[in-house]
Amino acid sequence: MRPLDPRLLRQAPSARRFLAFAAVLAALATAATIAQAALLAQVVVGAFLHRRSLGSLAPELGALAGLALARAAIAWALESGGRLAAVRVTRELRTRVLAHVVDARPGQPSTGEVAIATTEGARALEPYFARFLPQLLLALVAPPAILVWVAFHDLTSALIMAVTVPLIPIFGVLVGKMAQTRTLARWQALQRMSTHFLDVVGGLTTLRAYRRGRAQTEMIAATSDAYRRETMATLRVGFLSALVLELAATLGTAVIAVEIGVRLVDGRIALQPALAVLVLAPELYGPLRQLAGQFHASTDGLAAADQLLGLLELEPAVPRAHGPRPASFGTVRLEEVTAGYDDRGIVLGPVSLAVEPGEHLALVGASGAGKTTLLSLLLRFADPIAGRITVSGVDLRDLDPTEWRRLVAWLPQRPRLEPGPVADAIRLGRPGADVRAAAEAAGAAHLLERVVGERGEGLSAGEVRRVALARALARDAPLVLLDEPTAHLDGASAAAVVAAVAGLSSQRTVVLATHDPRLLDVVDRVVELAPLRFPEPAGSAA
């Protein structure tokens, strides 16, 4: 797996800046480490062999204190800088992803998935930037630098290092590859077990109703235990990679110590460089070893980034190419139109239908027959996958989507109103619209003085529907689309909405989707959409 996603650097300038910043700091940290080792050796040898007093060693000790401060400052800067970069990168990606998703795929993909990816999911970037990336750079910079320094002072030790250091990444990759598939299997097993437990807990009411609640205890114990045994079997192999890393690192240090010791006895090396090399040995293996410890920070962070970048690369459902403005509004014609989604297959069609200007048309059909999908095609939230839709003979795909939508007023199934005075919410249909007239037509005139709270609070579901209807009417658009305008309304509210629909001018073309027989009496024509295959689309199990 690649440790860094190049798309991340392309899409987030803050990530590029942090990488450069961290590379400089990693180099400084390495230099400080080497200097510290050299000074430490000098002080120890000075006191031990040359009998130098504390006072005469003061300059070196002072320099060591300075280096300790410098290393602390670098550690602080790396951690803070990493977190700061994560915050900034998250914000940059979030802004782009949200703008893209809303524009490119209205209503798709699922709201929850995008919401979690852009908020909670993005938090996995923090340890990735604060821990993994600095460690990665340190692992790239420190070992070669230390190796070069050691080579200048003790070639034999440098050779030992040069042989043992590559073992860490090589074995890491070799064993890691083997372990990775097993680790993956382990996570899937964990997922399975958690899902099983969640399933049992979620169905507890049903289990208790059938006296099976307590019987599940043994099942849970058995599943947990089977999972443990399965996991341990994979871990026995998985942890081998860690064993190899540890052995290469500590054994390398031990071999260097013994080798130096033997040559010291022979007088082939002086104590001072020998000691410095010994102090540096763990610093050489350390960064690589610790990098392996940041495995989860890296996979989680990359997965989060991948999810965000994947959303950013979604193909727009409707081409963004700017076509001309619609010249005129006339007959809307669907010719053998088929619609579908990538993940659900075909959900509508083929359908052929012509709606004359001024006609009021009701679409009926069982749930899942594609009524809402047909409306979303007319809104150009998606384009047909086969066939075409024309207006006055012009293919809808040749028009600028935004300009086209200005000709459409829409009442969704579950309308949402922007917080603020009701009059303002209605005016959003079209600035400068006659709010009162629209409100009266929708039976919402008495609501004009009211205020909409967050998420529509302060208004009942029926009132929200009527205000949204008024908003649609205020739009003064030639095509009006109403999706289940009376669903879930009590009798009085539904009657008010029916009256409003009945009163719609014949200047406007109306297409409404409904189950409600009362609405069918007030339209010019009723079209039934046949369900695609079976009334119970259970064959999807296959």
């Binding site: 709201t111 899902t195 114990a221 947990s224």
Partner: protein
Amino acid sequence: MSDRPLGRLVALARPLWPRFALAAVLGSLAVGSAVALMGTSGFLISKASLRPAILSLSIVIVAVRLFGVSRGVFRYAERLSSHDAALRLVGRLRVRFYKRLEPLVPAGLPSVRSGDLLSRFVADIDALQNLYLRGIAPPLVAVVVGAGAVIAAGLLMPQAALWLALGLLLAGVALPAATSSLARAAGRRQAGARAALATEVVELLAAGPELVAYERADAQLGRVAAADATLTRIAGRDAVAAGVGEGLATLLTGVTALAVLVAGVHATDAGALRGVLLAALVLLAIAAFEAVRPLPEAAQQLAATSGAAARLFELTDREPAVRDPERALAPPVGELLRLENVRLRYAPDAPWVLDGVDLELRFGSLVALLGSSGAGKTTLASLLVRFRDPDEGRVSLDGRDFRAYAQDDVRRVVALAGQDAHLFQTSIRNNVRLAKPDASDDEIEAALRRSRAWDWIASLPDGLDTDVGEQGALVSGGQRQRIALARAFLSGARFIVLDEPTAHLDPETAAAIVDDLLAAAAGIGVLLITHSPLRLERFDQVLSLEHGRIRSHRRTAGL
């Protein structure tokens, strides 16, 4: 919040303590090996520089090689034993908490959003896996290795050991305490901003099509950006503070090493320390800090685990809504199920949900109960299978109070298929067989034929083995209800209570379900609770629940 949740968890883990101890010993040996490696290496080369006979060094050389190997080996053994112990712990706790949760469902749980509650319950138990691995093991190892390093240093030079002890205490106790309280404060500061951002994001996405249609997407994106800016400002400040912990840890290592070095040089100068030991002393001090490095993270892990444990205990410490009697009556036959002047409310000062309800359900009769949403229909259903008891009045079966029977005996006679009838993520066969574990395939088929699901199932390529998917996602709403109905038929119950089986269905499917139910209901007592009046003419009795009381609409001569 429960008192000392971590203490209670550790107490629950008592049978696993020996395993924890073993893992801690192995972990200490692993880290201790690294410290000893640096100490002995320092001594080895200092001694070697005095050019003694090579034989006099052989013991030290063996020690250095030994420590070079032992660290990796001990670490491997430690990882295996600690993961095994952690998995055993979670398995044990999962069973323990499940046992406590089971009698609480559904009436003993707080609030209405029990779906969220239960998924958090599952996630909280999974989170306990980290309790030992990342929460308890690192401090244990740090104490053992830290003490060992200080003692070793003390043998060489007591004054240097004091400096080392001070540095380790600061880095291992004070620093984790400070950073974890810093992180908690940051979490609290950011929580509001994060929630505000999430709200705006969800609004943007949920209302996305509408915003695009009315050209308001930019306005909402602006609100998201404003919320994001607030969060970025707060999180940015916290990021700068969070780095301080890392910086201080590095500083403490460096300064302690320096203090030990200065003390050592001074002692060597004064003749109190043999110069040949100086390098060993300093290298040992530097290496000892490896033991305390993971402690700041362990402190945060413990805080997080403590929160999860507190939620779990808070939930499972509740009293069940119903209990079995000390000595239960013999199982009832199931001729007559009655509510007698039943009153029930959710809190002592809340209004009565059921306010003097009388209801009779005879074996073999069909009764429909209508009521708008929120009228207390589901509460009434839960009384009939004794998920809860009434506050006043009584529920009786064959003339004896429900409370005199064992709960399971009541539920053997009365089956409930609620609107949320759960389909488990397994085959259709297993989902139906749940009601009667020893049922044969023929019995299962008969029950499914009775609920008119068999033709559909027979047409599936895998038939009864078809998996229903997560929460029954692969099955349509109508078939889900038919499977739930088959379950009730298979159970052999004398009474079936159906709570809104037609909710969320389109009118045609809903009517078909009721038709199928009526066709199959011969020889059992059925109470259909619904808000939509469908096929009422075919019921023996039609009742409605209004303002906590039952109103009878029609009583046919058939009774």
